[in-house]
């Protein structure tokens, strides 16, 4: 993970930012494209050390496959989460038993932790309150167990397996 060159990380950031520029302007006029290339290069040079840690490796076919798989799992979980919340809200007795539980993650990179925390927030009944080092504190609508191993299995395992393959 540490041996990725600065050039690769810079180029990756540049490509992503330029794609974002094209999405914002949605025009192929030559002057706009040139200005976009220049501006996205300047911004990429300033921010690439925060933006990515694996660089151009993220575009390798295997990792793209994992990213697509992650997206599918995430969208399924998001839809499930909404029906879950809708069911709770529409039940007159409000069947909830909230509490804050903790578990440990095996992920090291900050970006992977951010993505995991965001995914947990959007999946059924769970909500990330804080992340300290590699401990996640999660607010859970229906606490089933306090044991951190079981919590990890119930909440994070399906996401983390794929994130480990993408970011480590």
């Amino acid at each position: 993970m540490e041996n990725v060159s600065k050039i690769s990380r810079l180029v990756y950031t540049w490509v992503v930012l330029f794609a974002l520029w094209m999405a914002f302007t949605t025009s192929l006029a030559l002057d706009e494209v040139l200005v976009g290339l220049a501006i996205s290069f300047v911004v990429a040079a300033m921010t690439f050390s925060y933006f990515t840690q694996i660089g151009l490796k993220a575009f390798s076919p295997k990792k793209i496959m994992y990213q697509i798989q992650y997206l599918i799992i995430f969208i399924v979980a998001l839809v499930k989460a909404n029906f879950h919340v809708a069911k709770i809200v529409l039940t007159p007795s409000l069947p909830i038993n909230p509490g804050i539980v903790e578990f440990e993650t095996k992920l090291n990179s900050d970006i992977a932790k951010m993505i995991l925390a965001n995914s947990i927030t959007l999946t059924p009944g769970t909500f990330t309150v804080d992340v300290i080092e590699n401990r996640f504190y999660v607010h859970w609508l229906e606490v089933e167990t306090e044991d951190s191993e079981k919590v990890y299995k119930a909440i994070a395992e399906s996401f983390e397996k794929i994130l480990l393959k993408i970011y480590e």
Binding site: L20, A81, V89, L94, G99, F127, D130, Y137, E146
Partner: protein, 115 residues
């Protein structure tokens, strides 16, 4: 082709509107701050995503721009509500617990001892 896209667009817009209403309803009904933010974040995120995606299908020329908004909402909404929940906990909002656990309490207590 046009009509299929139109019907898909109507479908996604209607689903999104339903979830936006449900999210607001959840905020009104839940008993405390943390459960409210749960209901609010989930439903309003999916509601707005599907709503705006549906508008993108109805008007294919705008599809890329609407996709940018969808991705931005998907990233920014969880982050802002997470920051809000942490801020609320640090300003001594006690979560409503029926018989659940509060593992985060120990961390906060330790910090106060250290200071």
């Amino acid at each position: 082709m046009e009509t299929i896209l139109n019907y898909l667009g109507y479908f996604f817009v209607s689903i999104g509107a339903v979830f936006l209403v449900l999210g607001a309803f959840g905020i009104l009904r839940m008993p405390d701050f943390y459960t409210r933010i749960q209901a609010g974040t989930k439903s309003s995120t999916l509601g707005a995503m599907s709503f705006i995606f549906g508008v993108g299908l109805l008007e294919p020329a705008w599809f890329i721009k609407t996709l940018v908004i969808v991705v931005f909402i998907a990233i920014s909404n969880p982050i802002s509500s997470h920051a809000l929940a942490r801020g609320a906990y640090k300003s001594h909002h006690q979560p409503y617990l029926k018989d659940g656990v509060d593992a985060y309490k120990e961390v906060e207590n330790q910090k106060e001892v250290k200071l």
